[in-house]
Symmetry: C2
């Protein structure tokens, strides 16, 4: 590609979302690290701000991280009537944790991030995120999340999976075995939420995972939000619960502190409700997946 | 950039959404044309299918055009209780016209596309779109849309602006002068809809245009949809009317033929309602724009 480097831009970062397409970003500075688990890079860019990259895939940018993190944290936490104990698997960038801690109901937040160097890098380049790891309600564990849920004796109200995509180390976080273990660490009235790829590039994955969710939980739901720095810029999330209704039209707001809604930049109760409206093609695909006629 | 060309990929198309970031697509074949108005290119790609490019900017891809075209056509046409006469300004790719013609209420659709070569190129590379231009309800005019609305004696129920971005030939389609002329060609109970850029890259433009809309129309509204091939993948639309309510919760469905809802891949009545839910930061920005406290 013949692309003159923009003023101040010294490096081109290229993420291939598929073999023949993807996103590029010009960076003024690049820091790279090699952990026991992955390659970690931090870019300083004009349009996207600071960018965290793991194994070549954009995880977080200053420009749009608020949408992803607010939607992955507040949707489950506002669906639960009293979310006290929260487990985050992955999430080493601290974004979901920051949003979770905005709920005064939360008394304990366990962050199970397999790679301690991710947290070190975030503390260095996003010093404002450092405070969230030091909150007295927080415990950080550097363990494999899929093994942790097999072995812990603790129970949680909400389990959030903020993982990288289901390849390599994260593949195990999208298996029936893992979902069964998540069920075990959740109170029956608890709920589970996960990022769940792009409807336009990964529709077969989404459909397959939706079937797995239905096998593991009585109540399941998908919701979407724009995340411009992720493939297609249109991201999908999934929730499941054994007993709790996920109906966005009947949020259990009574007695809840919702002061944090002044701080959100994307999330609102109206956005919460709208996010569950699925496009017609997905509605049709999921009904097909159920084996029912429309 | 060092990017080995994928199997079957012979050319790299790069669209800079801003100086330092954008989208790339590998193409197996490229056809280029030079009209009196612009450079026109058609790419044949694996991921995006056929892609129409005007002056270096992606206008339409097979993969995601349905979202953009359905949302730009069906939202205004379902908001109007009886949309008989429709004017489309721009829209030479035929996508909005195809969706407009799905409403049996429509008796006349005028497509005012300044560049006849766009239609020629689309007829050649999207032969399935050729039929929509030949529908007996359709009249195609090759005129400057902003001049056409100044001079025509016809009146319309719905005016849709499906233009390229507000630079060069399309700049005049986002001016107070143009909005006043659109008011003139609309019945008082009619409504106007336009594509309106990205909330994440063009927020100042959106805010300024929203103020212009408020000056021209009594009722105005913004709505959004994912359009992955456009900058940020998250697109904004605007509507205005002198008399007609734009409230998505009270669509005038009585007596309407809604058979076309079986054919839509993105649009549904639920999507229509959800699309008007704006993110918290925009709600706050627009209230600021109104000069009111929150």
């Amino acid at each position: 590609m013949d692309m003159p480097v923009g003023s101040g831009t010294l490096y081109w970062f290229v993420e291939r979302h598929r073999e023949d397409t993807g996103l590029f970003m010009g960076a003024r500075r690049v820091w790279t690290y090699r952990s026991n688990f992955q390659d970690i890079a931090v870019l300083e860019t004009e349009t996207w701000g600071r960018v965290l990259v793991l194994d070549g895939l954009v995880q977080m940018t200053d420009r749009d991280e608020f949408i992803y993190h607010e939607m992955l944290a507040h949707v489950p936490l506002m669906t639960h009537p009293d979310p006290r104990r929260v487990l985050i698997i992955g999430g080493g960038d601290g974004g979901v944790l920051r949003e979770v801690l905005r709920h005064p109901e939360v008394t304990r937040a366990v962050l199970c991030e397999i790679d301690p160097m991710v947290i070190e890098v975030v503390r260095r380049h996003w010093p404002e995120h450092g405070a969230v790891f030091d909150d007295p309600r927080v415990q950080v564990l550097n363990e494999d999340g899929s093994q942790f849920v097999q072995t812990t004796y603790e129970r949680y109200d909400v389990v959030i999976v903020d993982s990288s995509d289901p390849v390599s180390y994260s593949r195990s976080l999208f298996s029936p075995h893992f979902l069964a273990a998540v069920r075990r660490v959740l109170y029956p009235s608890g709920l589970y939420a996960t990022q769940c790829m792009s409807l336009l590039y990964h529709l077969d994955f989404v459909k397959g995972f939706y079937r797995q969710l239905q096998a593991a939980f009585s109540n399941v739901a998908l919701y979407t939000a724009p995340v411009p720095s992720y493939p297609t810029g249109w991201w999908n999330f999934a929730m499941g619960s054994i007993e709790l209704s996920l109906d966005p039209d009947h949020l259990p707001l009574k007695g809840r502190s919702i002061e944090f809604l002044r701080l959100t930049r994307y999330y609102s109760l109206e956005i919460h409700r709208s996010a569950f409206t699925l496009p017609n093609f997905l509605v049709q695909e999921l009904q097909y997946a159920h084996g029912t006629d429309r």
